[in-house]
Symmetry: C2
Subunit: 223 residues, 2 copies
């Protein structure tokens, strides 16, 4: 029984990793579509979002089944954490969809030249997401804490982009709608990093038993 | 034992209602602060956000305790739904905080006159939130479904605001940073309505046993 239970817990973890891979791929493809002005790839991201929605429901269902027979408090906590992580991954998919929708809009308009570096910001946010899932698999709280620490840097990149885009809009009013699309994309990337931070906080909660959400990084001076 | 368990379930529900009241009050106060340019009230919202953060952790803890002794599948489902609802309410608090931060920024700048009606949009989103919590307490799936149906109207209001603000920025470039703050506020209100919709979907899931998330409203023509 315990052995069978162990296998089901493994299946739950694998499902989460699959979800993580899917969410990451969607976000990456959405940003690529934006940069390459590839409206077909963007539409594929939008129509593919239902896969992540379905996976979240599957995780919920697995969790309900597992909770009913969970023998130990540790397993219970793992199951609750799995529910939360799957919700975060589903939300990463929503952000990818929003980026893809903006990519479709932008692919129909003349290109704008800007000094903001969205691909670099995207790489940063996606690396945080991949690291948070690695930390989950490897039970690596150190790695989880390093993800949490990086969130502020992405917040700063987002703020910098907003200032840059506001300046740009002032000198080129006809480009305002296009610049607003890029503000939304930058915000989506910032939210993907937030979700990665949430996953990392859940990993620390799972293994160290303390709830560090809402407290992480409060000792750093610039809060 | 069952009786004691029943009392604990009631306590969990009451905690959620308290959270709901707190989240609603924070959002209302943030919008009031924005409209009245009251930077002190806005700062109170920002510093008060930790209350909702703490309440979410308390709900998690109650849920973990309860799951360990839940005798019936129905209770299990209620507990899982409670975890999800508390997360949504905590996020409403985050949106209120974002609105309050923008209210602080805007209170330091000259006022801008616009035709967009943020207080009406806020009233709409907050009514959805209150109704979704009523539906939870009264086990009223009809009411929950009506909340879900209203979400698109708030999405439309947000899109309308964005168009209006983009036009405004084009004719008054120095006001761009202020208008961007209002775009963020409008988006926050749209997200509060999203969270209310999530809560309503959980209520339907709880009582009708079917998962309508990601499918609600897909039969309406404008999706």
């Amino acid at each position: 029984m315990q052995n069978h239970f162990g296998l089901e817990i493994e299946a739950l973890k694998n499902k989460l990793l699959q979800m993580g891979g899917q969410a990451e791929a969607a976000a990456r493809k959405a940003i690529d579509a934006l940069v390459r002005r590839d409206d077909r790839a963007a539409r594929e991201v939008i129509s593919g979002d239902s896969t992540l929605d379905r996976m979240e429901m599957e995780v919920d269902e697995m969790a309900v089944q597992l909770i009913a027979k969970a023998p130990l408090a540790t397993n219970l906590r793992l199951i609750i954490v799995a529910l939360k992580i799957s919700h975060d991954l589903e939300r990463v998919g929503d952000e990818a969809t929003t980026i893809a929708r903006r990519a479709v809009d932008l692919s129909l308009e003349p290109q704008i030249k800007l000094s903001i570096d969205l691909p670099r910001m995207a790489a940063r946010a996606l690396a945080m997401l991949a690291d948070s899932l690695d930390a989950f698999v490897q039970r690596d709280c150190e790695k989880a804490r390093s993800v949490i620490a990086q969130d502020k840097e992405v917040d700063r990149l987002n703020k910098g982009n907003n200032l840059e885009l506001a300046k740009f809009m002032a000198v080129d009013p006809p480009a305002i709608p296009r610049a607003l699309n890029l503000i939304v994309v930058s915000k989506c990337l910032e939210r993907i990093a937030d979700h990665a931070k949430n996953v990392a906080e859940e990993v620390v909660f799972l293994h160290e038993g303390c709830d560090i959400r809402h407290f992480a990084g409060r000792t750093t001076p610039d809060l």
